[in-house]
Symmetry: C2
Subunit: 232 residues, 2 copies
DNA sequence: CGGGGGATTGACTACACTCAAGCATAGTGG
DNA sequence: CCACTATGCTTGAGTGTAGTCAATCCCCCG
């Protein structure tokens, strides 16, 4: 599970993300770096329970928070993308309610035991990230409660594109969507078959293009209109 | 909007609630009291935006956090019951995403300007309350995403009963449900008509009894089985 | 007694689910 | 190099849960 991969520039995504929520002095960043441990690799499907002991940052790959019902139905509560923290806030730490699972092979960097935010700036940034997470939870509730399959899909694709763009993982309107349609179904509260049909409809409508795992938003205006919820 | 109502014992519900999340010394409680302002009354339907300026505790009556779509569809994100705080945590503070609305006439007690948790104990208790709130958000996502109307209803009724019991507003398995079926519909992501039919089915199945706004859980075992999500 | 808000019912529709089969692509082993 | 698999995507057919529209009932209250 331990990998000795050198940290590439793109892997500072967590700094990039944190800076969106408040100024981080270079010394704050350095102090954070000093409190981070080694880089660990997880295979797709692996539980990230270890994040509960020591909070970690996702460096590459996708994960999710999911809740499973007894009969096997599964609901994905949130997606976790590179740069996101896991286990820093209440949501991602709450053991019982939800489990964190790797959706793709991923690498993460955990904090050293006994971590706590070193500086004012850092703790404000972490709080900001938690707030953003919360806001996405509300989006998720609205999607599931009051939107059609088509609207949910449009809304989620816009969210994912926006988040990936923030960390430099989008090229224009395109991004890599490394998850099965089954995962989209579990996130959107739909069946696999209906997700497939919804995506096809969006392609026919000229809203998106899919080549393999590469997804392109072809008509942002219409997507936003379809997703309804006024996104900032 | 200002009311000069004497504070009755039941209205210390917020202390009762906070104590569930961590020990509050008598002096902590006293310090909190000292930082609370006057009691305000709101009519049903009124926005609680004022809570955003100064956090407040709900003394009596029900409120909710709701998000409205452009075309009028509305999704209730969370219920706020007596004893709950509003505006203390990220969720209930986040202006844009969601608005807090009184569902019944209610009374609330706001903190004085510049409030911040005075003691270690109080701030731990407030954090605990925020965590509980988060956990309910996840429940809500699972309900909306992966449960049937019947299951959603069972699960929500159990949640409401549990929360009301905590603050002494349940009598055995009975509690007062002061909201229209339309509100239940907006919370459960269902239509008003379907909520009505679901409730009737539950009555026919002998799971609940409704006399006016008084609701009784007649068969907790079956309700819990139906709600599936293993509740603690 | 009339009005009004909320609850209830019926008839019809439709969005999304299930079951089941077929297709495409990438690996794997002979 | 080519069957053979496996996995994920696609499609069809039929079903069902939940939605919509519209009328009616019920009860409280003025």
């Amino acid at each position: 599970m331990l990998a000795v991969v050198p940290e590439r520039p793109v892997e500072k995504a967590y700094l990039r993300r944190l800076r969106r929520f408040g100024p981080l002095l270079d010394e704050d960043a350095a102090a954070l770096e000093a409190r981070l441990g080694r880089i660990e690799a997880y295979p797709a499907g692996r539980d990230l329970d270890s994040a509960r002991a020591a909070p970690m940052f996702l460096l590459s790959g996708w994960a999710c928070l999911a809740h499973s019902l007894r009969d096997g139905r599964r609901q994905i509560v949130a997606f976790l993308l590179p740069g996101d923290g896991i286990g820093f806030d209440l949501l991602t730490r709450s053991q019982h309610a939800v489990q964190a699972v790797a959706l793709t092979p991923l690498r993460a960097r955990s904090t050293q035991p006994g971590f706590s935010p070193a500086s004012e700036g850092l703790s404000r940034a972490l709080a900001g990230a938690a707030a953003a997470q919360q806001s996405r939870l509300i989006d998720q509730i609205v999607r599931l409660g009051r939107q059609t399959a088509y609207e949910r899909m449009a809304h989620l694709l816009l969210e994912l594109h926006g988040r990936l763009a923030e960390i430099g993982e989008a090229r224009g309107e395109s991004f890599h969507l490394p998850i099965k349609q089954e995962v989209l179904a579990d996130a959107l509260g739909l069946s696999l078959v209906h997700v497939n049909r919804t995506l096809q409809q969006m392609r026919r409508d000229g809203l998106i293009d899919m080549r393999g795992a590469q997804l392109t938003l072809l008509n942002r205006a219409v997507l936003e209109a379809a997703s309804d919820q006024s996104r900032s």
